[in-house]
Amino acid sequence: MRLIVTLLFSILFIGAGIAQNKVTISGYVKDLETGEGMIAATVLIKELNAGTVTNEYGFYSLSVDPGTYTVEWSFIGFETVSETIQLTSNLTRNTEIGFSQAMLEEVVVTGEREDEALTSVEMSVEKLDIAQVKKIPQLLGEADIIRSIQLLPGVTTVGEGATGFNVRGGNIDQNLILLDESPVFSSSHLFGFFSVFNADAIKDAKLYKGGIPSKYGGRLSSVLDIRQKEGNQKKYSATGGLGLLFSRLTLEGPIVKDKASFIVSGRRSYFDIFFPFAPDETIKDSRLYFYDLNGKVNWTINDKNRVFVAGYFGDDVFDLDGLFRTRWGNRTATLRWNHLFSEKLFSNFSAIYSKYSYSLGFEQDAFGLEWKADIENISGKADFTYFANPNNKVEFGFQNTYYYFSPGAAEAYFETGDVRDTFNFKVRSIPAFESALYLSNEQKIGTRLTLAYGVRYSGFAQLGAGHVYKYPNDQPIDPDNPSQNVTPIDTIQYDEWDIVKFYHGIEPRFSVNFQIDEFSSVKGSYNRMRQYIHLISNTTAATPVDIYMPAGEYIKPGLVDQIGLGYFRNFRANTYETSVEVYYKYFQDLVDYKDEAELLLNNTLETELYTGDGQAYGLEFQIKRKRGKLTGWVSYTLSRVERFVAEINNGDPYPANWDKTHDISIVASYDITKRINFASSFAYMTGRPITYPEARATFGGVTYPIYNNRNGARTPAYHRLDAAMNFNLVNPEKKNYSIDLATGVYNVYGRKNPYSIFFQQDEDNPEITKAFRLSIYAIPIPYLTINFKF
């Protein structure tokens, strides 16, 4: 409460400042070539040495005393636009800036001001430049945002091809992945081999690992905010690529020049195009593919109003001629309205829909099964930015989300002769409602100190209709014998819209930046986050068909407190950017699982779940070269992730599956000529924690392993080298189009990185026991892709 009072006083203080006689210059900064709003472009008033950066929509606002000023609009890699303006009253100035010819020969690593890492109050933030992502060698040459993220400090993965990513010790469900503000529940295709984000359709991606701003919430460990392109407002263009196993095409252009534009982008794999040539009838009629379809339309109604409609559809499909089939996919849709209430008050209203659905099925002669599950949500939010003065930027807003969890429904049939018996089983669908309010201020104090402080209040209600089981002593787990199944003793029925369980709490956020000098700064941050939905997955790597469950009577919301401290220093006129950060996180009320937990189609799921705490701490170091023929980065992370669950490992702490003590990434891109680029990346990670058997015993002729120390050992280290060459075949400076040939090799030296190590008895002699290694991508995998742009 004291925090809220302090904030209110701060806002009042800011309001007092506003009452003075100020004038405001505001507007949008756009790309001269495409008309797209530019995120994080800099607007500087030279005489005052005061400035700001544009927001997610390219909007800026600066309030200053009346006078004549030199205003500069700039963005790294673009020509700076400078103009002397006499500011006597409020002024709207939209500005378009274009590529710098002087910079064209240099590779841009980040699309932000050169010293952004030093001056911004944000810390633990990674901004991905899509052009750079496209140069990083990737599996089958498919530019992949999620795999690129895994090369950043503090980001790990359980193993090659595992779904999702882990940020600073968090599970994969602790990442809030937003595609144009819509939550994406599964970020992977083909069990994690490719991400669902088509790089051709993406404009900007930003990963918050810590110091998470108040406007974000609902997940414990990170926010990956991805914005799709808006579409070229100037001219029509087509971008695409033809690969061995994928192809993609993006079309964009103006609907009304400089007023409205569209972008449509599609991608499809065709692993299954060879199936019709198979001699086997079953394979002939089988399907195996994934696809994405992104679309966006935006319309600038006038200087004060702008509307966006964006959507995404994607699916993975495997159908073995009906005998076995699985399908999963995301659907998202966002309707946004940007409105300027005044030159100082920017607002965005969004209506958001998101659904992740998945199914499994198979049919035999006399038996068939179809299983389906999904998570659906509809959300409305409003975000306001009040540009009080050059030293204060206030953000506030709210969001309401209605969830509908369908954790599983199955229909099975049995046929006996001509008689067909059908059985239906459904886990109770659960509605829920989540609300959040936030208020924050970014405040500059003098020329060196910047503070960002705020608070988020969130609440979550699990709703009826439905029932909740009651257990002896209100405990679905017997504390004296936790592995034993506990049976419900009673049922409480809830009507529609009844509140089954309500959780709420305050989430303070704080960041500070003290700029030591022109080239260095120190930063600190603290954030508390709450997470009300959990991915229920007990496998080494999550599967696309794992279910989501909301907090309720027995499943508590997760909570984390994170502190971070960092030192940032740039060298050689911002050519080199270095940073060292340390962090500590303490997790509460994380979900863990009984041994052999039954997680699917279980109406008493709470009897399979444990609750525990955890901690993660580490040090991250990164050095980037941002300019010149050679660009890239080297990053190193030293970290530890532990879980404490009373019922697991005899209550002793154990490392999480994604705990990697050392994690080194080297990414380099070198322009051999203007038209030939070589890129390579190398990754090294300590092997992941694994449980080895201490001994063996024999029962019923079976020799079985004895496991007592959860994750007490580690797989051998992971390392991999990738390399790529990109040839520009048609020079875009001479033609109206460009064609590039991208070729490369994934896992150049064919390292057999262990995904897992498991233990089995010999098939013929049970007295012989063996260890086996499972490797994924254990050989060099070449690729060749033709990319084009018209």
């Binding site: 080494t540 002729g701 079976v702 392993p705 063996k770 290694r773 499972l774 994924i776 991508y777």
Partner: protein, 329 residues
């Protein structure tokens, strides 16, 4: 089997890597041995319904037929004599061994000269004698009583051990076992597959295990550990149920033991199966400790293995020597 091949193909395509799995050498530290118990106290204590068996109103099995079948089973199968003919027989004895290093690759060391005492409802009823021809094997001569609770107290390896109490239940009889030609539950190729004719005892919370001997050789493959509980089939007639799943070879004789067990035993053998048969996939769960019901009271730590109790019923079938002249559906 073909369908499993297709699924493997799918996984292979996903892996793209081609040859995902290989044997490796690994050094594991040595450990101190601990006691492992395996034993099952049993008799042919059958659950016989009080009246004719009504199978969903579609079939009525007269009580007299059930009693006749039981009499035939008892006359045809002499459980006590099977032991001499088979390579593995866990009933009415306790086998004590120790754990060994995981890669020790030899038979489990037997534990001789142990004191093994059977308790019925907390009262000592028998001290087991060690079989002089089979070190580490201790035999029961005591006949259990349906509804009674049994546990063992053991002195061995310098420690005092105790098993958790287990309740002895009767078992529905295995009325017959058949070899049926055609596709089965998971395999679409035609062959002879097993079918058991039995019924489930009314009242939920019943647990079963089946064991299979092919030509008197016990099938110890862990993925053929067959268990079931009565969730969704409480009181059902189970006719033609293939609890084995593998193809039967022409001319083989297959003997099936139907065991009634406790939930603890059911969970134990299921964990043995899942931790040995279904491992190695990219989506495995974490390895689980296989917790039995033997406790080392000297160290206050769990020892290993399981001592179970429950009725058994056995039956057998001779697979025909020829394939029938029918079209595979």
């Amino acid at each position: 089997m073909k369908h499993l091949t297709y699924i493997a193909l799918f996984v292979g395509l996903c892996c793209l890597t081609i040859g995902c799995q290989e044997e490796i050498d690994l050094d594991l530290p040595p450990t101190d041995p601990e006691l492992v118990i395996e034993g099952y106290l049993t008799q042919r204590d059958y659950y016989i319904p009080d009246s004719d068996l009504d199978c969903f109103g579609q079939t009525i099995i007269p009580l007299s037929d059930i009693k006749l079948a039981v009499a035939l089973v008892d006359a045809f199968i002499n459980i006590d004599s099977i032991e001499a003919e088979t390579d593995y027989f866990p009933f009415n004895k306790v086998r004590l061994t120790t754990t060994a290093d995981y890669f020790s690759n030899s038979a489990p060391p037997p534990v001789s000269n142990a004191s093994v005492v059977l308790y019925e409802d907390g009262v000592a009823v028998e001290t087991l004698e060690e079989d002089q021809d089979s070190p580490g094997t201790y035999r029961f001569t005591y006949y259990p009583i349906v509804g009674a609770t049994y546990h063992l107290e053991i002195q061995a390896l310098g420690s005092f051990y105790e098993t958790k109490p287990e309740v002895y239940h009767d078992v529905p009889p295995l009325l017959s076992v058949t070899a049926n030609y055609g596709p089965n539950f998971i395999q679409d190729s035609c062959a002879y597959y097993l079918g058991v004719q039995t019924f489930e005892k009314p009242g939920s919370g019943d647990f079963y295990r089946w064991m299979f001997y092919v030509n008197n050789k016990y099938d110890s493959r862990p993925n053929f550990i067959a268990t079931a509980n009565d969730d969704g089939i409480d009181g059902f007639c189970l006719f033609g149920l293939d609890v084995y799943g593998d193809e039967l070879e022409l001319g083989d004789t297959v003997t099936v033991f139907q065991m009634r067990s406790t939930e603890a035993y059911f969970n134990f053998v299921n964990t043995v199966r899942s931790q040995t048969a279904f491992v190695g996939g990219p989506f495995d769960g974490p390895p689980a400790p296989i917790t039995g019901n033997l406790m080392n009271l000297t160290t206050n730590k769990a020892a290993y293995g399981f001592f179970g109790v429950g009725g058994i019923s056995a039956n057998a079938v001779a697979v025909p020597d020829t394939i029938p002249s029918v079209t595979c559906p």
